[in-house]
Amino acid sequence: MAYLLTLLWIIVAVLVSLGAGWCFRAFLISVSSQNMAKVFRTAPLTASFGLLVIAIYTSCAVFAPLIAPYGEAEILSYGFEPWSSDYWLGTDNLGRDVFTRLIYGARNTVGIAFLITALAFIFGTIIGIYTALKGGFIDQLLSRLIDVLMAIPSLIFSLLMLTIFGTNVISLVLVIATIDSTRVFRIARAVALNIVQLDYIEAAKLRGENTLYLIIREILPNALAPLAAEFGLRFCFVFLMISALSFMGLGLQPPSADWGSMVRDNADLISFGDITPLIPAGAIALLTIAVNFVVDWMLHRASGLKD
């Protein structure tokens, strides 16, 4: 009976989210310009739901201090208080408000994941396009080196690196950005290899443009579409990896609020039938699903498949 009830709830949740997606799409169409409205009209409900979720998370991250009822690391009561009107989702093991930390977690976890992805993309694309442009020895050397690096599972590799550099935010950001930039490098290089053969690159070279100009003004704009979709996917990977590391106690360090460590700190509650620790984990899953839906739609649009 309990399982049937859960199934019912899942169906209700899916219907509600599709409805929310429909409303959000209507809202987007009405507020955006004519061209953009045309684009949004083609969005499937899953994608518009994804956009809605991303919008909510972003506003949570930006306005966290305004939304959250208490301070991020403020200790308010005894540990593990139940849900009440004072503490909407109860308090955690140290007596901090879970709802507040959930809001701040959006800022910390999502913010850092975004920062890492952005860094990885800046390194990866610039080096990838550069090697594609230059070719020859540097290209061979870097590509083979990165083949070897990619032969290690990224979680294992980052664990190894974190042992060496210690577990703090700066080394976390740099280590994961470096590991991830190897993946970006591969894609950027593959995309750029097709572009550098084209005539207008040859023309720009003959004009005597320098390498930086070639990369930024000539190649990058034409490689942007596939790289944008890749950015979404890589963001999901990075986000899941950071959450996993935080969950193992190796990611963001206390007292900053973070979804992965929130799950771990309060995991005991699950054995008593309290679902509070599942909420931050669900928040992670929801954002990843949302980004995936949007990326799916973008890829579909880019490939021109209409089956």
Binding site: I152, P153, I156, T163, F247, V263, F293
Partner: protein, 317 residues
Amino acid sequence: MSNVIKMILKRLGLGVLTLLLLSLLIFLSVEALPGDLAETILGQQATPENVAAIRKELGLDLPAHTRYLNWLGGMLQGDFGNSLALKKPISGLIAPRLQNTLFLTLYTACIAVPLALILGMAASLFRNGYFDRISNATALSAISMPEFFIGYIMIYFFALSGYFPSMANINPNTAFIDKLYVCFLPALTLTLCVTAHMMRMTRAAIINVLALPYIEMANLKGVKPRRVIVHHALPNAIAPIVNVVALNLAYLITGVVIVEIVFVFPGLGQLMVDGVKFRDVPVVQATALIFASAYVGLNLLADIISTITNPRLMRQR
């Protein structure tokens, strides 16, 4: 036939080369540590004499290449050195845990691989229908969920009601049947993490084959759809499917680390995470090398099998 053997030898050589480079990388990354192992061990008591004595004891006074060769030689013979935090030989720590982790991985594979293949075939049979759409959306969602989320949901639904234990506490004396029972929830969690991906790739592989002219011919002959998929499409889709299976088993290696922590399972992943926490470098080095070798090995296996099952690929190389 000699062609095949030559190809396999070439791939094996490449694999061994990758592993050697990997071990060099793992070794060198520790060399880059600020300070050295001797100072880390001694901590407060790091007087110059003590440091020199420990350096001699650990062989740190030897040149780097000699140490690398010694380290690698030890690894190959199953001697992983001593743990810094526990002051015990690492091989003794690893052996039972490696067994446990292998057990969990194989257990998962036995559930996940057949399940994913059947679901993938079903999805390609009813493609673009409701079954396909629902399974696709579910798969996409399952891929997006962190492993620990799925793990705790499993605990919430199956352990609270008392059907299965929430802690997978096993030791070498546990009977096989009990092991299967105790490890069911971790294995189920890993299955959910891996199946989605495998299923989607199986579906994609079969649909790719279904677009070929000879399948249309079979359809025009009036062969039943199920028979077309099982007898005509599947044999030609085996290569990509095997590839997917091996890749996902390799993916299990990272999943297993997190799932072991959720279920307090005494496996290799937990050893590694503890090692990272205490900055126990030799333990992390050894476990990282084992995980990486398994990963490289599985990828190599996928490569070889997919080449053998596809005559065209074999001719080209």
